[in-house]
């Protein structure tokens, strides 16, 4: 059973979002509202546009039509707004994307020091605290190449948290991991959810969706097909496409 932290404040708002890759229409009229403290799980077949959608939120991808508003800041051409939004939004990638030339600790303090202009001592203290929360403080002085995949992904989560984000985006955080490492990453994510973080997770971990999600969104062909609270979504899917997808994914 999950206990919702959602408040009334809108954290992320997508209105009539449209995006094209060349001639290809990847996102079609996406409308989505995420309240503060809400946890959203987004699933769907590959190529359905789910990653593209969350990558639009921190402007890693450019959208062509529609509005994106994050924490009351509209995402437009203004570079100041883009930078402000990126400071508020943390992101965790499928392939971790840790900086291989820096130690774990340096990975974590880089952005606080250079973007938030935090004193190094303070940044390091905060980083150590967060590394403790993801349960790898003893690896702080190692290089990413010396860690396992699960450890790397936990460092990546700590690195994002070092910027004190208001929203966390997870882009398939466990799909590049070996099965025995998935749990250690999910545990960290669940803990984060329980602390009230606003989260948008693209993932196929349906167990995670059932435990923490306030809403599950199913995307296909560049649009949102179905949106429901987890119990209803899994037990009583409305659309044929959703049923088919769920039957495939829950088979194994």
């Amino acid at each position: 059973m999950n206990h919702s932290h959602a408040t009334d404040k809108l954290m992320v708002e997508l209105r009539d979002l449209n995006k094209w890759y060349g001639e290809f229409h990847v996102l079609k009229n996406i409308n989505l509202e995420v309240k503060q403290g809400e946890k959203i799980v987004i699933c769907g077949p590959s190529g359905s546009g789910k990653s593209t959608m969350i990558r639009c939120i921190n402007h890693l991808e450019e959208h062509q039509k529609g509005d994106i508003i994050v924490n009351d800041i509209p995402l437009n051409e203004d570079i100041k707004n883009i930078e402000a939004i990126r400071k508020d939004v943390g992101m965790v990638f499928q392939h971790f994307n840790l900086f291989p030339h820096l130690t774990v600790l340096e990975n974590c303090v880089l952005a606080p020091i250079w973007v938030k202009k935090m004193p190094r001592k303070e940044a390091e203290a905060q980083a150590m605290e967060l590394l403790e929360r993801v349960k790898i403080p003893d690896q702080a002085l190692k290089y990413p190449g010396q860690l396992s995949g699960g450890q790397q992904q936990r460092v990546a989560i700590a690195r994002s948290l070092c910027m004190n984000p208001d929203v966390m985006l997870f882009d398939e955080p466990t799909s590049a991991l070996d099965p025995e490492m998935i749990k250690e990453v999910l545990d960290v994510m669940i803990e984060l959810a329980n602390e009230g973080m606003t989260m948008l997770c693209v993932t196929h971990e349906m167990g995670f969706a059932k435990t923490v999600a306030d809403r599950v969104i199913f995307m296909d062909g560049g649009q949102i097909v179905e949106e429901n609270e987890p119990h209803e979504f899994f037990n009583n899917p409305q659309h044929e496409r959703t049923q088919l997808f769920l039957s495939q994914i829950l088979q194994h």
Partner: protein
């Protein structure tokens, strides 16, 4: 332990006593790999020894028959020929040992000049090759594909014979900014320091020291308070500004020795001979194409995910480049870059084809012809290049080992 088990398994009668094992027959010595390789190596050594012995024997006989001397005594004999360009005092009365030094210095000069120019040009082209501006990217690609597929010697000849040697004679020199360009080379005014110029030089070095302290102070302050300071801009400002201000306020204490046309040639100023210019142009342009490719490969080796992660953390484009992309790209770029530098230095030996007085030209060319001591001269020349390349490979091994320490 596994061997114990399998041994007893193979022998059901239980006798684990060593004498029950089949006697180890000694292999025939040519079937014993150790002896075989020893024999082979002895044979190889003998053969090599024989080859060297024959070569030395033949050479000695040949030299004797031609009445040629051996040994390095010739290095102290008078050379008796002039050299068009020398960085140190050299006259016809200097020794062959001096020709070696003059040639070596000229080789180092062209190598350093070429390395600086090729690096700047190569980095610009390598980055331009990846520009999102179509025109700039295609222009850079065109440059790279054209210049790296044409022999360097041809490019040297082109610049020398088709461009620089067809310039007008000294009397019709092309004049710009007090300099003169003609078929004898580029003649620029020579700076003559006057009283007070020492102050400017001191100001310059003072500014460098000050920049170093500012960099240290700003790093400390950032660690403590998080405030950033534009170190690079300030340093550039100081290093350029301080000497410039001192120069202006101390009454421009630098005279210029202007070149003047006297008769058929110029007197005064500094002459850059056309051989040097042609070689410099060709070496820089040719090597820049290869450096551009290594730079491009280095940047591409930094995966897109790295930039994305930095961007997602809120870092600006400039900071992403400085803190994430460049440090990683340089690790990939530096080893091939060093070998390009080595190639450029070795290629500078083509100087001899247009008569730039480098090591090969004055030493392996003129000196060899005059003394006839081919073996000593060529061995010394080769030793110079060999030393350089060994130093380079030591550096690369050291660098790669260091990188592996910090990354894995």
């Amino acid at each position: 332990m596994s061997s114990d088990i399998s041994n007893s398994g193979h022998k059901p009668d239980g006798g684990s006593a060593p004498q029950s094992a089949p006697p180890l027959s000694k292999p025939k010595f040519w079937n014993d790999p150790k002896k075989r390789s020893l024999l082979f190596q002895i044979l190889l050594l003998t053969a090599l020894g024989f080859v060297f012995y024959t070569i030395i024997e033949n050479t000695l006989t040949n030299l004797e028959q031609r009445g040629m001397t051996t040994g390095f005594d010739f290095l102290s004999r008078e050379a008796g020929f002039g050299i068009a360009m020398s960085l140190i005092d050299y006259t016809e009365a200097s020794s062959y040992g001096m020709t070696f030094i003059v040639g070596l210095l000229n080789t180092i000069l062209i190598a350093v000049m070429g390395i600086i120019a090729a690096t700047i040009l190569g980095f610009i082209l390598g980055v331009a090759r990846l520009s999102d501006n179509w025109l700039i990217a295609k222009f850079s690609a065109l440059y790279i594909e054209v210049f790296r597929n044409i022999p360097l010697l041809l490019q040297i000849f082109f610049w020398y014979y088709a461009v620089l040697r067809t310039l007008p004679a000294p009397r019709q020199s092309i004049e710009f900014l007090g300099s003169f360009l003609n078929n004898r080379g580029l003649i620029v005014p020579a700076p003559v320091p006057e009283d007070g110029f020492g102050l400017v030089i001191m100001g310059f070095f003072g500014a460098i020291v000050a920049s170093w302290f500012i960099a240290r102070w700003s790093r400390k302050r950032q660690e403590l308070t998080g405030q950033q300071f534009p170190v690079i801009l300030t340093s550039i400002g100081l290093i350029v500004g301080v000497p410039l201000l001192l120069f202006l306020f101390s009454g421009l204490p630098l005279g210029l020795d202007h070149p003047e046309l006297k008769g058929f040639n110029f007197k005064g100023g500094i002459t850059v001979i056309p051989e040097l210019m042609a070689l410099w142009l060709a070496l820089s342009i040719y090597t820049a194409a290869f450096i551009a490719e290594t730079v491009r490969a280095g940047i591409l080796a930094v995966s897109h995910g790295q930039t994305e992660a930095a961007t997602a953390l809120g870092m600006s484009k400039a900071k992403t480049l400085r803190l994430i992309v460049i440090p990683q790209a340089m690790r990939v770029v530096i080893p091939p870059l060093t070998s390009q530098y080595l190639n450029l230095t070795k290629n500078s030996s083509l100087a001899t084809a247009i008569g730039y007085p480098d090591l090969v030209n004055v030493f392996a060319g003129t000196t060899l012809n005059q003394t006839g001591q081919a073996i000593e001269v060529i061995a010394m020349t080769m030793a110079v290049y060999l030393t350089l390349s060994l130093l380079t490979s030591f550096f690369m091994n050291w660098y790669n080992a260091r990188i592996q320490l910090t990354e894995r």
